[in-house]
């Protein structure tokens, strides 16, 4: 019975994740550890597998909408993948307790970030690297009008992506929050472009450490299969339901839930 419950919980996590524009990892890892008492390292590895699944499926539709900046995504993936490699290597030396603490702090940070209002800005100046690699682009606004944008602070953005990669491998998250923060804040990309490009990159970041965890033996099908299948189904339904449900209200409730869960994770880390 617990395994069927796990499948159902994962459907819920995928549904909620799609509704709120989050990966399932932020929900799945606390559920697996706090409710099912599964070791956090198995939970992180299973979460990474589900991130690879949902983002690969979603990347398909992102490519069509011309919001994703494919060139920028590939450039920044150099940063996230190297970060993920470092994260995986570091993970062998980190105690489970510390992972709980780090996850708790990350959840708290996510809750704060969800309350933040993202200001729209369009940069008109390119960083020299962006100029050389032609990283700027244009995106469609209403009535199919294309709006051109430039890219700033490329080295800082790349460095932030490295950090996002480390966090992804350590905590089993897609670390979309960090990616969006780097692209919005440092590189001054339009909101829609940074969200779409971040979502597109998540799968590659997660697969870097997921592959290593799989070969090391941290990914066990008994956990990863129901979680991944549940999240695939849940996020598919969630994406369809998105237009019909008022996301703002759910967001507010979710911020409170995140706060409570973050405290629980920190307490478990301190025990």
């Amino acid at each position: 019975m617990p395994e069927i419950l796990l499948l159902l919980t994962s459907v819920g996590a995928g549904f909620l994740g799609a509704l709120l524009g989050l990966g399932g990892g932020i929900i799945v890892v606390p559920v697996l550890t706090l409710v099912y008492h599964i070791d956090i390292r198995y939970a992180i590895a299973a979460s990474l597998i589900s991130i690879v699944a949902t983002s690969s499926g979603a990347a398909a539709s992102y490519l069509k909408d011309s919001l994703t900046n494919l060139r920028l995504a590939v450039f920044l993936e150099v940063g996230t993948v190297s970060g993920a490699i470092v994260g995986f290597l570091v993970s062998s030396f980190i105690k489970a307790q510390f992972l709980f603490l780090l996850f708790g702090v990350f959840l708290f940070f996510s809750a704060v970030m969800m309350l933040r209002k993202r200001g729209e800005h369009i940069s008109t100046v390119n960083h020299p690297w962006a100029e050389k690699l032609k990283l700027d682009g244009e995106y469609p606004e209403q009535e199919h009008r294309m709006i051109p944008y430039k890219v700033q602070n490329v080295p800082l953005g790349l460095f932030a992506m490295f950090g996002a990669g480390v966090m992804s491998a350590l905590l089993g998250i897609g670390s979309g929050i960090f990616k969006v923060l780097a692209m919005d804040g440092a590189m001054k990309l339009p909101i829609k472009v940074s969200s779409a490009t971040s979502n597109f990159m998540i799968g590659v970041t997660a697969s870097a450490s997921a592959g290593a965890y799989l070969l090391r033996g941290d990914i066990r099908p008994e956990i990863a299969a129901p979680v991944a299948v549940g999240i695939i189904v849940g996020s598919f339904v969630g994406a369809k339901a998105m237009v019909k449900i008022p996301a703002v209200r759910i967001r507010q409730i979710f911020v409170v839930v995140l706060g409570v869960v973050s405290i629980q994770m920190i307490i478990k880390g301190l025990k």
Binding site: E3, A208, R216, D218, I232
Partner: protein
Amino acid sequence: MSAEPKKDSLHELELIISQILRGGVLFAGIFLLIGWLWMWFRDGDNLQTFTSYEPRPLIENIHWALVMNDRALLVSLFGLVALVCLPLIRVLMTGVLFIKQKDKGLAIMAFAVFIALVGSFLLGIDI
């Protein structure tokens, strides 16, 4: 003037990439589901065995499944491997896309990401 048809063929390649990704997720997902249900009907719940951390390397797991003729485990492991390889295919095909675009710099970067991904997978093998 020649930019338009070139853009079209690139767009086509992008669409092929997205179809492969979507099909791949479905393919891997089906293997995962079948393998897991098969194991669950046969062995029942065993989540409680994962409350303590004792990793068993994938190679050993496959070897064990082959020796014991555990087809359910093999099916689900295949699903996991297929799933993890999807982003690899995506990066490789993006590299090809940039080559077709005659964009050397980004093609090299895409292949660098590909090699880094393969390298990171191999880090999981305990030598």
